[in-house]
Symmetry: D2
């Protein structure tokens, strides 16, 4: 039974994701993304589950930066989890008496309409995580009257659900990934995604276009690009790429070898089954048998047989 | 004397930026980026100053999303402000007694080494802004013993500076912009930057490459690209672009008209002098006189004069 | 009634093309392509008809080079003429007695199978044109027994057609163009072609890719590219381009202005109706109304109205 | 001692090229390019020397088409030969009595100024080759008074040189190649050229741009591109490419494998030392050791070692 670290405390959406990804796993809640990944790195856990991006908030930059700068880990699975916020309070709290609400800034943004309509006089205060907000609210003497968090957090901390699904949109999704230490990669499934971090060799005009051309010329479709600051002043960035296919695919291998040749550093973050099961459209000339046949042809002509 | 809204409360780095950009302006502190921009939009203020990105933390996504989705505003100036964090406390507080530190998550990240070394037993709690942290600490009965914030915040709220320049790096920079309602653009200076938001017409493979080609073919160099989720599920993004040049430049005009034609929506965010004063390298054939000459030539051949 | 020079003598395929393009025109046969174009240039004729390319032989390089280096002329029409070769001889000649055949090298190539089969012992000698071959054969005392030429040439010179349609392929086509001195261009018809000559500014690696990108980024499809030596040593070329659309089209105008800006010289050869009547596929964002709308948008944002 | 076929008769510039390329070889003159190549193919000769392009006239299309459609041969060497034309006549001929000049059309073009100035009343007639012209003039009873050809042709056929170096330009160069049947390729020298013929899979807009991108993305610089008709009507072309590097180079191998995957047919014509000895500029990331290192890296990450 694997032991998986995750962004805790108990009751986070990340815990929900972990339970769906690995129902049997032993769960190790950690204070933040960095701690969860550290547990995976140092062997305290067999891996970790962390959020990567949210369909409203965008990238979880802490996760991106940990993947880019920390000891390398491999993404081995992803999960898309619909996000449902609940208004949670201590038993006996009435909604009309709520004056101070505690939650993560992302939830503040996503529940703005509900708060304006149902809690017009309440102050909403930023918490480090939605589960931490629920935990705080559960403490006797907390200055906060309610938390906005996952229902699961209410269950953990003995809170009552005063309102369910209070987000402005009901199609918000968070993407989580499971990571583990380097080792065997997941087998290709025909519907895979690969993630990379790329540091430019030198930040000349057109460098990004060159990188994208390495993908497009081999028919590899990007699904996500994120720029992140290198830390060396404004105007210096590195890139996270997600794209279709598995590193075992010939077209993917050639594309990322091309990046590796022209860039300062390419860090491979993993190839893993896509959560949405979408199969890539393979451009004519870029399937594995076509690469193999071209390799045979090249060997023949190099031997002078034409 | 213009009246400018800014990300308050008094004492934020944003206030510092505003004072540098517009020393004479009347200052209107606002609770958050959205409120500052709203004040600029509805006429309560003549404009606003807000942070856009940080060399460590990356984009200020609230600002990006406000620019993309809110009522249009124009960026008219930018400023690069070195970030110096101070440890601030109520008078008579000794550093050894600090158990709870309050500050913005970005400051938590950036002062990690100092906290680990000097405040190993203290809990560091996330605040909505560094100035809000200072304000909270200044209140009698605050549960927090110290704030990490700009020195200016300590002066505002009567706090004492226990330590100066406590960031892990001393070259951290935040980029601020001044915005105003639509109207006259700043004149081209020869060292300008232009900012856009672009929504794809349809998210086909190669769409990003096509957008970058619209820039490169006219010799327009990107200085920043940020992807942001459209909100419609994982895998749907729009883009922020910063690039060299002024919309009055022929090459910039043609490039962004090209984007406008092939994309669903292009929102112009402004052309304004670069804070770093760097002049663009103008590729052969893309200077204004060359565009003008080509236009004359085209008119001649369209008239049958060859 | 216009007077048109053409590649003579009477009886050439070019005469056939001229009769189809301008049945009413007065015809002025010339000794070669250069002479026909000179007649058009100096006013002796109102224009000229010359061959441009053949589906077997490829470009008529004399025509290409005249268009590139001579006094500028405008192509105003094109025609695709199926090429049918006949074996022509003086009356009373029997096929078994033919020992020497005279014709243009292109016809030698294209009638190879017929000659090998039907005239195995005959020598085939290169003539300056098929009609000149017929003319020579018609002379008393000619060393040649037969010519391979157009049937029309036989009629002109009093020869008998011994065999018809003797080409190896029966789908060979020659493309002819009518040119005139600079003046009014043909109106756009919705199915037009434009021809250019482009001299590179400097022959750096990637120069051709850059030129093609100027077309592709505006959705302008090439239909033909020919490289020709500049005369300054091996390895220095200039280019002929044919592409879809009319110079009056916004996308064409912008594309060729782009070429004009980055190249040493762009010579406009004309916009004229396509002989095959094929309408271009217009890529999203590149139709005239889309250019016009983008121009309006650009004017608005340049005026600060967003 | 190898036996090499060449474009005869004796006295052609091709013979001159052959003597320079292979001074010791036995020489087999052939009536035309096709016959010379046939001799190389069927074993009558060990190889052949034929002209490929001329700095004034451009491609020798017969050679290009033979290479594209005939039984495959390998180019194993190239030579750049300055072209010097002489006016040759039978002994006792005076220049003022010359009424009919016989020569190849290319020489007609290249000696136009001399003929206009020195032979204003002479008719210049097209011959199949300059050497054939010399041979014809040497025959008693020839209708021609003089030939324009290489001095070597005059020596062969007993003609007198009436004028030397009569071309309009004195820097005209012809490029010749030596070919042989498939077998061992020449070793890479560090200054090599590779030649290919490429047939498109389908002639969609942008197909040429895609082909060029296969080269550019691997840093392979084109030195020549020629389009030739496929024979299937106007508007259908295939391409000849010459480019820097040897097929043994990793970047060249990957580029042409890419072409092979996306095109209908790629025919390898050979890798051979450049006559001009120019070494290629190798773009960062495209040298052989960089390809090897990227291959090792890819193998490591595919094995899960990151």
């Amino acid at each position: 039974m694997p032991r998986l670290a995750y962004l805790g405390p108990e009751g986070t959406f990340t815990e929900e994701a972990l339970r769906l990804l690995e129902p049997e796993a032993e769960r190790l809640p950690c204070a933040n993304v960095g701690a969860a990944l550290a547990a995976a790195r140092d062997g305290e856990a067999d891996g970790a589950v962390v959020p990567l991006e949210n369909s409203i908030e965008g990238a979880i930059t802490t996760t991106l930066d940990e993947f880019a700068w920390g000891e390398p880990l491999l993404i081995t699975a992803e999960l898309l989890l619909p996000v449902r916020f609940s208004l949670l309070a201590r038993p006996d709290t009435e909604i009309v008496h709520i004056k101070r609400v505690y939650t993560h800034p992302a939830a503040i943004t996503q529940c703005r309409a509900f708060c304006a309509r149902e809690l017009p006089d309440a102050v909403v205060v930023a918490a480090p995580s939605t589960a931490a907000a629920a935990q705080e609210v559960s403490l006797p003497g907390s200055p906060y009257d309610a938390a906005i968090a996952a229902r699961i957090a209410g269950e953990h901390y003995g809170l009552v659900e005063l309102a369910d699904d209070i987000g402005d949109r009901n199609d918000t999704v968070t993407r989580f990934v499971r990571v583990s230490r380097a080792g065997t990669l997941p087998e290709p499934t025909g519907s895979d995604r690969t993630s990379l971090v790329v540091f430019l060799a030198d930040d000349h005009p057109g460098a990004l276009l060159e990188m994208l051309t390495e993908f497009s010329v081999r028919g590899v479709n990007l699904t996500r690009i994120e720029s992140r600051p290198t830390g060396n002043g404004i105007g210096r960035y590195f890139f996270h790429f997600d794209f279709e296919g598995h590193v075992a695919d010939a077209r993917v291998g050639e594309a990322i070898s091309g990046l590796h040749r022209i860039c300062d550093e390419v860090r491979f973050l993993g190839s893993y089954p896509r959560a949405d099961g979408v199969a890539p459209q393979i451009k004519k000339g870029t399937a594995d048998p076509e690469f193999a046949e071209a390799g045979d042809w090249l060997a023949r002509i190099r031997a002078g047989r034409v």
